[in-house]
Symmetry: C2
Subunit: 476 residues, 2 copies
C-alpha cells in the first residue's frame, strides 16, 4: 500500500469512525450471533494477491460489526468502562507511525521522556504525594503498564525482592527457597482475581482477608492476620489495598492499612484500577487518605479517563527493587547514557513497549483538567440518577452505597428472582448488564460506561429494568 | 473534542504520517538530545483548559520528533526490525474506535472469532501442521500475545501444569512444593534474555546449554543434560528451541531437539520471534523441520511481517493446560456460551485485550501472501548485498552465516578495534547499529529494519562502515 492509498483509506476510516461513534446508540448493544458465526463469512485462507482497501472497508459491517459488543454504547452497563476518545485514537495513529520500541532511553528518548513527564502531570492531577513523582528528583516515578494485572505483579516482585534482601541480612543461614516459602501477602477477599493470579505467578502465598460489612478491608483484620502468620514463622511482605472493588466498588481503609504496613515494613500496593480516575476531583480524595504510606499506586486511565487501552499508570517510590530483581543486561541493549534516565524495560514484565505516553499527552491537552473533572462528575451523577429511580421503586433495593459510576441493585427477595431478572434484561437485547455475588447474595451491576450517556439514556435503561421486573414478578 | 474536530485532526495527522514516513530517510536516525531534554519543552502541569488540536499538532516536531530514534529509517540497523505498515495503522484506528476488551467471547464475539480465523490463516501461510490450528476441529489453536516474552512464559506455565499433573499421579506422596523444586527447563545459552526471565517469574530452574560451533542447540547436548538431571532426581519439563537467536540469528536443531522432548514427554516451545516470518517462503521451512514435534510455536508478526506492535502469534496444541492452570472465574465474567468458543482471557497473563486481529486481517488482505513473500525475500537479499560488500573488503570478516536479514561482521583482529569501529560508526550519526558478543568475540550486527530500504541504502550504510574503518585503522 502506497502513501496515496493510505491517505484515502485513513480518511475514509476517519469518517467511518465518526459515523460509528456518533450513532452508536442506535446499534444493538450485544450482537445476536452464535459461536462460530464469523468463519463462514471469510475465505479459508489469506489471499495470494493484494486486495484493494475498498474491499476491506466494505467487509467491516458484514464481518466485524455484525459480531461486535458495543462497549461505548450508552446501553452498555457491563463490567467497568473502558476508555475511548478521539484524541487518543489520533495519538495512537502517530504512535503507530513512529512505531519505536522504547525499551531503553536511547531506543527513542522521546518515548521514555514524555512518559516520565506525563506520569508527573497525571500524578499531580490526582494529588499523589511528591514522593511518588519523578519531579521530586529522587528515584521515584511513574511508568505505563499494559494492565492493572501486570502492575500488581510488578509490585509484588518488587516487594518480594526487597523482603528477600532484608531477610537474608537478618538470617544469612536461610536458603532462598526457605525464605520464599515463608513469604505471605494479603488482600481483601473482594480484591480483583488478578491479585490471586499474581500470587500464583510469583510463587508466593496470598491470603484473602474478610472485609467489614461495607466490604472494606480494615487495619485491625490485617494486623491480626499478620501477627497470626508471624507467630507461625511466616514473613508478611506484600499487601494490596483495593480502592474500588470490581464487584461493588468498595474502598479498603487505606489509612489504617498503611499504618499496619509501615509498622511491619511491608510493601503496600494500591490498586485503584477503576476508581483512581475520580481522584482528579478533590472531593473524592478522602477515599485515598493514607496514600502517602503506600509503596506503589496504580490506576487505569484506560478505564475511566478517556485514554484508550492499554494505559495503566503505576507509580513506584523505590523502583530499584524491581529494576534489580529482573535486570538481564545483554550487550545489544546497553547504551552510553545508562543511569541518567529510566530504561523502562527494567520496570515491566515484557521487553517491548509502544509509545503510549502520546495518548496521555493528547488527551490531557485536548480535554484539559477541567473537562476531565466535568466528565467524571457527570458520570457519577448519572449513576446517582439511576440509584434514585431504583430507590423510588419499592420493589428494588440498593446493594451497596453508590460512590462512583457503579450501581449495585436487586429485587428484594431471593437470588433466583434476580437471576431471572438479569436473564430477562439481557434477553430483551436493549441494554447489557452483568451480575455479581457477595456472601451468597446475587445482585446486578449497572456501570456507566459510555461518554455519550445522558440522563435520557439512564431513563431508557431504567425502563428496561422496570419492564423486565414486571415480567419476572408477573410470572411468579 | 467533537466529531468535526476529530475529522480535521485525524486527516491532518494522516497527511503528517505519510509525509513523515515517505521522507524518513532524510532525518537524523538517532537524535542528538541528552537525557532530560524534554522536560523543559513542556509545561510542568497539565493544562486546566482544553487546547485546540492545532496546538498539539504544532508541538509534534518540536517536542517529540526532536527526540525520536527513527526505527523505520533505512539508516537504522539496530536490534531487530519492528513492523510498521499503512494497513496496520488504519486497522488500529478501527480497533481504537471499537475499543472493546475481548476477554471473553461474549465481550465481543468478533474480537475473538476474527483472531481464531486469522491465526489459522497465518499458520497455514507458515506451513504449520494442522495439529496447531483451530480449523483441525480439536482444542488446538492460536492466540495473539503482546510479546514473545509473554508467549514464552505462557508456554512455560502450561508445561509446568501438565508436568505437575503427571508427577502427582506417579507420586501422590510428594507435595506440590517438592515437585516444583525438582522441575528443570532448558534452552540454548544464546536464547533470548526473556527465557531466563520466564524461569525467574515461573519460579523454576532453567538451564542454559552450550550450543555447537554454529551456535545451534543440538539434540545430543539436550539429551545428556536431561539424563544428568534425571540421575540427580530432577524432572525435565520444558525446552525452548530458538529459531533465529537475537545475537546472531542462529537456528537450534529443532528436529533433533523434538525427538529428545517427545521421548521424555517434555513440552517443547519454539521461539521464532524474528525469523518465523520467513517461513511464509517455502524455501526457508527447512529451518523449522521438526516443528510437528513441538507443543507450542511463537513468532512475532510485529517484527518482520508488517503488522504493527503488539502482535505476537502463539499456537498451542493443548491450550487446556494453560486454561486450567489460571482459571479464576468470577461471576461477572461468566456467560452462557462458555465452552463453545475460546475465552482468550484464559490463554494469557493479563485479563484485558485489544482487538488486535484487525491488524492481521488488514495486512494480510492489503498485501496478499505474494507481496509479503516478496518483502521477506527482498530484505534477505539486501542483507546478502551487505555481506558481499563486506566479504570483498579483506579487512573485514563475517562472524556468522547470513540466513535472514541480519549480518554479523567485524574487523579482523581484536575486540577493542571493533568497539572503536562501532563508536565511530554511531558517532558519525548517519547510521545506527548495536553490537553483540559471543564467547568473548565482539562483533557488529547490521539488521535490515526498514521497509523502505533499497540497494542504494545498503551502499550508503557500507560506505559509512568503510569510512569509519578507515578512521580506526588510520588511528592505530
Amino acid at each position: 500500500m502506497e502513501a496515496g492509498d493510505f491517505k484515502d483509506f485513513a480518511k475514509a476510516m476517519t469518517d467511518y469512525i465518526a459515523e460509528y461513534l456518533e450513532n452508536i446508540r442506535d446499534r444493538q448493544v450485544v450482537p445476536s450471533v452464535k459461536p462460530g458465526y464469523l468463519r463462514p463469512l471469510v475465505p479459508e485462507q489469506a489471499p495470494e494477491k493484494a486486495e484493494p482497501w475498498t474491499a476491506v472497508m466494505a467487509d467491516i459491517e458484514r464481518v466485524v460489526m455484525s459480531g461486535v459488543t458495543h462497549w461505548h454504547s450508552p446501553r452498555f452497563h457491563a463490567y467497568f468502562p473502558t476508555a475511548n476518545s478521539y484524541p487518543a485514537i489520533v495519538a495512537d495513529m502517530l504512535s503507530g507511525a513512529i512505531a519505536c520500541i522504547g525499551f531503553t532511553w536511547i531506543a527513542s528518548p522521546a518515548c521514555t521522556e514524555l512518559e516520565v513527564v506525563m506520569l508527573d502531570w497525571l500524578g499531580q492531577m490526582l494529588g499523589l504525594p511528591d514522593s511518588f513523582l519523578a519531579r521530586s528528583g529522587g528515584e521515584a516515578g511513574g511508568v505505563i503498564q499494559g494492565t492493572a494485572s501486570e502492575a500488581t505483579l510488578v509490585a509484588l516482585l518488587g516487594a518480594k525482592s526487597r523482603t528477600m534482601v532484608r531477610v537474608k541480612e537478618e538470617h544469612p543461614e536461610w536458603t532462598e527457597t526457605e525464605i520464599l516459602s515463608k513469604l505471605v501477602g494479603y488482600c481483601n477477599k473482594q480484591a480483583h482475581s488478578s491479585v490471586e493470579r499474581a500470587g500464583l505467578l510469583g510463587g508466593v502465598q496470598l491470603r484473602s482477608l474478610q472485609p467489614d460489612e461495607k466490604r472494606r478491608l480494615r487495619g485491625e483484620t490485617l494486623q491480626e492476620a499478620m501477627e497470626e502468620d508471624i507467630r507461625k514463622g511466616l514473613i508478611p511482605f506484600y499487601v494490596v489495598a483495593t480502592l474500588g472493588t470490581t464487584s461493588s466498588c468498595a474502598f479498603d481503609d487505606l489509612d489504617e492499612i498503611g499504618d499496619v504496613c509501615n509498622k511491619k515494613d511491608v510493601w503496600l500496593h494500591v490498586d485503584a484500577a477503576y476508581a483512581g480516575s475520580a481522584f482528579i476531583c478533590p472531593e473524592y480524595r478522602y477515599l485515598m487518605k493514607g496514600v502517602d504510606k503506600a509503596s506503589s499506586f496504580n490506576f487505569n486511565p484506560h478505564k475511566w479517563l478517556l485514554v484508550n487501552f492499554d494505559c495503566s499508570a503505576l507509580w513506584l517510590k523505590e523502583p530499584r527493587w524491581i529494576i534489580d530483581a529482573f535486570s538481564v543486561d545483554p550487550l545489544y541493549l546497553k547504551h552510553d547514557m545508562q543511569g541518567s534516565a529510566p530504561d523502562y524495560r527494567h520496570w515491566q514484565i515484557p521487553l517491548g513497549r509502544r509509545f503510549r505516553a502520546l495518548k496521555l499527552w493528547f488527551v490531557l491537552r485536548l480535554y484539559g483538567v477541567e473537562n476531565l473533572q466535568k466528565y467524571i462528575r457527570k458520570q457519577i451523577a448519572l449513576a446517582h440518577l439511576f440509584e434514585k429511580l431504583c430507590i423510588a421503586d419499592e420493589r428494588f433495593e440498593i446493594y451497596e452505597d453508590v460512590t462512583m459510576g457503579l450501581v449495585c441493585f436487586r429485587l428484594k427477595g431471593g437470588n433466583e428472582k434476580n437471576e431471572e431478572l438479569l436473564r430477562r434484561i439481557n434477553g430483551r437485547g436493549k441494554i447489557h448488564l452483568v451480575p455479581s455475588k457477595i456472601d451468597d447474595t446475587y445482585f446486578l451491576r449497572l456501570a456507566i460506561c459510555s461518554r455519550y450517556t445522558e440522563d435520557s439514556d439512564i431513563h431508557v435503561s431504567w425502563d428496561e429494568v422496570k419492564a423486565s421486573a414486571d415480567e419476572v414478578l408477573k410470572g411468579q
